[in-house]
């Protein structure tokens, strides 16, 4: 059964804004070729996993006590609960730092910001559906 994205929660103390989209590029694993001359087929083992990056689009909503966070050099813990809170909803937990941030202001529009978070370390996925 499909799951609505409405209500998705992005838990962090450093981002201030009203999120309109979250794109999680996904985890990739580097394959290591361990084939030998006597192998009949290609053989691989799993190497390092890479959590990749997450793109967050949001409407900037400056509020006390701080405005949108600028780039940071420190990894911060984040949690994404797709579809809102609930014990059966998939949850993705990871540490990441802000790799880039852009702003956009158009006539007759709202101020938008797009952040790219670089995942640092392991990604934990719980309650997968």
């Amino acid at each position: 059964m499909a799951m609505s994205a409405f209500g998705t929660i992005f838990s962090t103390g450093t981002l201030v804004g009203e999120i309109t989209g979250i794109t999680f590029g996904g985890i990739t694993v580097t394959p290591i070729d361990v084939s030998v001359l006597t192998s009949a087929d290609k053989l691989y083992i799993a190497g390092f996993s890479d959590g990749g990056s997450i793109t967050v689009s949001m409407m900037a909503a400056p509020a006390a006590p701080s405005l949108l966070s600028a780039n940071t050099t420190t990894s911060v813990a984040y949690v994404i609960q797709f579809g809102g809170s609930g014990t059966t909803k998939p949850t993705v937990s990871f540490n990441a730092f802000i790799q880039s941030q852009t702003f956009e202001a158009q006539v007759d529009g709202v101020v938008m910001s797009t952040l790219t978070l670089r995942i640092d370390g392991a990604v934990t996925i719980a309650n997968q559906v």
Partner: protein, 136 residues
């Protein structure tokens, strides 16, 4: 509490507008329609094409097209009222009627003429100004 209430209040309390449509005490600024045969010049306003700006966490703001029609017995008078309306709410942000107006931007204007209705001997010149209003 409404966006229309806030915009109506702004128009009705702006000297450049109310001085042209009946004065400060009883400015002729009406929602949707004016009574047939009622005094001119006057202003009628309505909301067209309102939408919600949604975030993943819920409603964050609303955006609407507000049509403000200046109605007068002469073309020059209708244009003067329309210009006063643009000066009053074009590029305006503020609050009223429990609503926060983040911006009100003039998008376009359109002119027209209303032939005399039943019971009327003269027609009316219409100058419509359309605004994009972002509010919460």
């Amino acid at each position: 509490m409404s966006m229309e209430g806030a915009m109506r209040a702004k128009l009705a309390t702006t000297a450049g507008v109310y001085s042209l449509v009946g004065g400060q005490t009883a400015p002729r600024v009406f929602p949707e329609t004016r009574a047939q045969g009622s005094a001119l010049p006057s202003i009628v306003f309505s909301t067209n094409n309102e939408e919600s700006l949604m975030a993943l966490g819920g409603l964050t703001a609303r955006k609407a097209e507000l049509e403000v029609v200046a109605i007068a017995t002469t073309k020059a008078s209708a244009i003067a009222i329309a210009n006063a309306v643009i000066n009053a709410i074009g590029g305006w942000s503020g609050s009223g009627d429990g609503t926060t107006i983040m911006h009100s931007l003039h998008l376009r204007s359109v002119s027209a003429y209303d032939a005399p209705q039943a019971g009327e001997t003269t027609g009316a010149f219409l100058q419509t100004t359309v605004f994009s209003v972002l509010y919460t």
